[in-house]
Symmetry: C2
Subunit: 350 residues, 2 copies
């Protein structure tokens, strides 16, 4: 006998990528940043520690972090929510909008957390396959769903939708539309300029990728104040601690540092994508800090496993067995990966 | 028109105590600890910062923090969940057990977050008034609710239920029973020894009170592995950051420091309670780090407001207007408070 809600017993849970407890891995499986965050982050966290305020509750709305976000992103404070990573913000949004049986639509494949969050709300999932060019499917644009989500750049493919398509989606949708911009700093542009025009647009960001702060748990949400009020109503009062607020604020004070890291990663991405194509992989054009490499009709589990044996972690999704998602690390790491892949596939003759 | 679930529009939200942005307040309104945490906390957080791992995702299950909890509380790892404060853990539990229309029961008055969490799940609330002696009401013991919650020591009253009553509750309940032990380190004993006997017992703890770490956001949940598995299934993968894990683990390495602070607070509590009684307040016997002081049939809002003008913050709940909840601070702070209350009530002749 289970005490749980029936939906919990039957739901598929989200399985995050491995976080190896042992040292010595080249870790290219969860899209972390290979370069350290701005030195200002450590400095400001130490300062916050020194203030002796760790025994007090943090600012419920994010304090200085929200103020810095206001400056950097040019939005009033009441358009901004600070979250315990963007996962918490996505979780809150699904809970805010979706009653049991309501429909949530998203193009597929995408971040599998959306499916888990839909299960949690007992929402009906409308998972619409991307066409081969990864544009937005017509039936997604016109779906009468209660909530739409699009990850841009998309994970696990890395593909990017131009602003004109996001604008078309917003125009054709009478429901809230979440644009998950976890990877947007690696892409040409953001949907931010559309916020003023579309009160149904919600943008979600994370500090885990471009800002090199996955360990700190910081995310941001941008939306019309009417939506922000709802999120604040249901979030835990003290969802982001004092040190995360200080570190996140510091990261936003040194945008130059983040941008330099992003440029290095983008350049490695272009070179690495070309090398993977030379090895016979189909590589989706990526605007993120990872690539999806595919061998059509081959199960690449063996490659994932052989790499793991050699202490290189990449991401294998059982639902897309002919592809691997590979985070862009440092150039040396990617060279080691290329050599290792060559060695493995030379041997098994893929 | 609102995009929100209808329940969200109608729900009462939880209003946390004020966190003043200006300095210079004597802050006795949110039950923080007036003494700093163990010096080991700062040391270990700085060490964690120095390891350069802040760009990596944290251990999804709490890493070293969970291991330390295993040692300190004498429970196997699979009986422990680490949370982003105990609020997150309570939130997860309500979401795990309660479908729309299911009944959640708790004695009242208590922590008002339970009401908010019930609203969020559209659960039916069975709020059963405590009898004058603050024992568990018979109808609560025998309620056929889907979930029961008891805060022990209770907030805002500070009153404490002996283990025999918790045991009786567990014996008579076929549903999961949450014992919220946020303040238990200030009380004579915990329900921990009952865990092995009652697979429906769930204990929730926080580091915000006895451990002086409200700013870090750390909580713990102890329960049978079957329940733990459900909580892990629905929690955000990376709910507690690297620095909070390090700081929480450090706090558990120095239990002696926490216990000394607790002893000081308990001694101040006994003295302060007696002084408040001399001033004509009814003071509930408290086993927490706060007291509830009452003047029957008087609205104490004026006292709260006059104290605030003099930069002393205590907690006034509009639903219990004849009482103030006062955190136990340092002895000097409580002396200042007593003098100030005397000055105010002397003047207005309460």
């Amino acid at each position: 006998m289970s005490y749980f809600r029936e939906a919990i017993n039957f739901m598929e849970e989200y399985i995050p990528g491995e976080q190896p407890e042992k040292e010595g891995y080249i870790k290219l499986n969860t899209n972390e940043n290979p370069y350290p965050p701005s030195p200002l982050v450590e400095k400001k966290i130490k300062e916050a520690l020194g203030l002796g305020k760790i025994s007090l509750y943090p600012h419920p709305l994010g304090g200085e972090l929200r103020e810095r976000a206001q400056e950097v992103y040019g939005l009033p404070l009441d358009w901004i929510v600070v979250g315990n990573g963007s996962d918490e913000l996505l979780n809150l949004l699904f809970r805010l909008f979706l009653d049991k049986g309501d429909r949530v639509a998203y193009p597929f494949p995408t971040y599998t957390l959306y499916r888990t969050l839909a299960f949690l709300q007992e929402a009906e999932r409308e998972e619409i396959p991307f066409p081969p060019d990864f544009s937005l499917p017509e039936s997604f644009l016109t779906s009468p769903a209660k909530l739409k989500v699009v990850c841009n750049p998309n994970s696990p493919t890395g593909t990017f939708l131009p602003l004109s398509q996001i604008e078309k989606l917003l125009s054709l949708s009478s429901c809230p539309v979440i644009v998950d911009e976890a990877y947007v700093d690696f892409a040409p542009c953001s949907a931010l300029p559309l916020l003023q025009k579309f009160p149904n647009l919600i943008i979600v960001r994370t500090f885990s990728k471009s800002f090199s702060l996955a360990g700190l748990r910081v995310g941001l949400l941008f939306a019309h104040p009417d939506i922000v009020r709802g999120v604040l109503k249901i979030k835990d009062s003290y969802n982001v601690g004092i040190l995360s607020q200080a570190g996140g604020a510091a990261a936003l004070e040194d945008m130059e540092h983040m941008r330099k890291n992003v440029e290095k990663i983008k350049s490695t991405r272009e070179w690495f994508s070309a090398e993977m194509e030379k090895l016979g992989f189909l590589v989706y054009p990526s605007q993120a800090n990872f690539i999806m490499a595919r061998k059509e009709r081959r199960d690449l589990k063996f490659l994932y496993e052989e790499l793991k044996k050699r202490k290189i972690l990449v991401r294998y999704f059982p639902q897309w067995p002919d592809s691997l998602r590979i985070t862009i690390g440092k150039e040396e790491e990617m060279k080691t990966l290329l050599d290792t892949i060559q060695e493995i596939i030379g041997r098994v003759n893929v």
